[in-house]
Amino acid sequence: MATTVPLIDRAEFLDTLKGDLEIDPKKTACIQIDIHRRQIDPRFSPFPVDYAQRVIAASAEMMRMCRAAGIPVIHVMVYKREIETSISPRLGVFRRIDVNRSPYGPDLAYDPGQPEGYFTWDVMPELGPVEGDYIINNKKTLSAFHHTDLEILLKSLGTETILLTGINTNTCLQCATFDAANRGYTPVFIEEAIGSGYGEDLHHFALQNVARTTGWVLTLAELAERLGTPVGAKPE
């Protein structure tokens, strides 16, 4: 039977910490995680279409603001060899049980199909990639950091603060906040540009948890205010 969890009101705590957050565009990167065809395109994913369109539109808006402010955009996406698909027993189990992992429906098969070493990207076209963006196309796990070159890229860029967009809020996005915090970065969720195919309960849990535990959560409007960069402005 479904239960309700009443949230503890920590508004004052959250407002205080939000006021302490500084974003220096020169030391900031925008990381987009898993908004690619296999995860969100309705032909291959159970992610609800309207929901997906809202997240993609917000993500595109966020990226336009970041690019205009001179903040690099990094697209991170999953690509596993078949032999790598069940390395974690817990994640591998979803391939064995006959119940959908997502409450919205079954995952549909889609193999990008390139031979070993030739996969490029399948980012949703609304997001680019545009010239100057970076691509990390070998994410294997829930983590954008583990077994990828993301940290080396971030250090090369001089990044201290990470603005996050993508799916899914409670898994790979929340994992990214843990990974980033553990590595000394400042992780920030952009609320409208994040969504979850695991259910709105776990989506709202992750937003609440990041705000109260691992990082910060800003709206698009709050990000625009902090960057001082109107949508569509050109980088200096």
Binding site: A11, L17, P103, D201, N209, T213, G215
Partner: protein, 228 residues
């Protein structure tokens, strides 16, 4: 960020299928890992009565694990003063005088003296023969510690978690355990959160649906292949 109540989505078919698919029942592959079961961490506060039940349940579970031949590893945080600002979020809480705990306790885990910090594991949790790692600095018991090396030495690849905080370092460590290829189990009765009982309950739902086989002590005991 939502400030209202959160209705848990009813997914009994998924949860039942996941629990039934648990095959990591060989105790010879398991290690129990307690996270931040320290005096310093507990001072941040828990809901009334929670610390007492956490200690009682965890003590009982650890006894069972030891009798089953499962090694017990205690991982606790200890920061040098110079490391206090490493985690940006914690530094912000310190700078603004805010505690992440709604129960009002202090948040600092700074400890000393250098090289000679004595573990302050909560009463009834440690026994001779257990292992202690006292270099945790982040939300992960793996990151920057020798936990992976110890598990490799013990030849254990199924990690069973207890401790604090369900939504913080338990969840953070379970993420890493999955990403490193370990089997993941959480014992619900033996977890708690100084961040709030709401985040504890929601994190348990997150663990059981997405990240770890999450059992009560009784459920876990019936799953083990070898009975004590």
């Amino acid at each position: 960020v939502q400030t209202l109540d959160i209705d848990i989505w009813d997914r009994p078919d998924l949860l039942e299928a996941l629990q039934n698919a648990f095959e990591l029942t060989d105790s010879a592959r398991m290690a129990v890992i307690t996270v931040d079961m320290s005096e310093r961490h507990a001072r941040r506060g828990l809901p009334p009565g929670k610390l007492e039940t956490l200690l009682s349940d965890t003590s009982s579970f650890l006894d069972f694990a030891r009798k089953s031949g499962i090694p017990v590893i205690h991982v606790i945080s200890a920061l040098r003063p110079i490391e206090a600002g490493y985690m940006k979020r914690w530094a912000s809480e310190e700078r603004t005088g805010q505690s992440p705990s709604p129960y009002g306790g202090p948040s600092s885990e700074v400890s000393g003296p250098e090289g000679a910090f004595e573990p302050d594991i909560l009463p009834g949790i440690f026994e001779d023969g257990d292992y202690i790692i006292k270099t945790k600095k982040t939300f992960s018991a793996f990151h920057g510690t020798d936990l992976s090396h110890l598990l490799l030495s013990l030849k254990r690849d199924v990690t069973v978690f207890c401790g604090m905080d369900t939504n913080g370092s338990i969840q953070g460590t379970v993420f890493d355990a999955n990403n490193l290829g370990y089997g993941t189990v959480a014992i619900a009765d033996c977890c708690a959160s100084t961040y709030g009982d709401d985040l504890h309950e929601l994190a348990l739902e997150q663990l059981r649906r997405c990240l770890a086989w999450t059992f009560t002590i009784d459920e876990f005991q019936t799953k083990l292949a070898v009975k004590v």
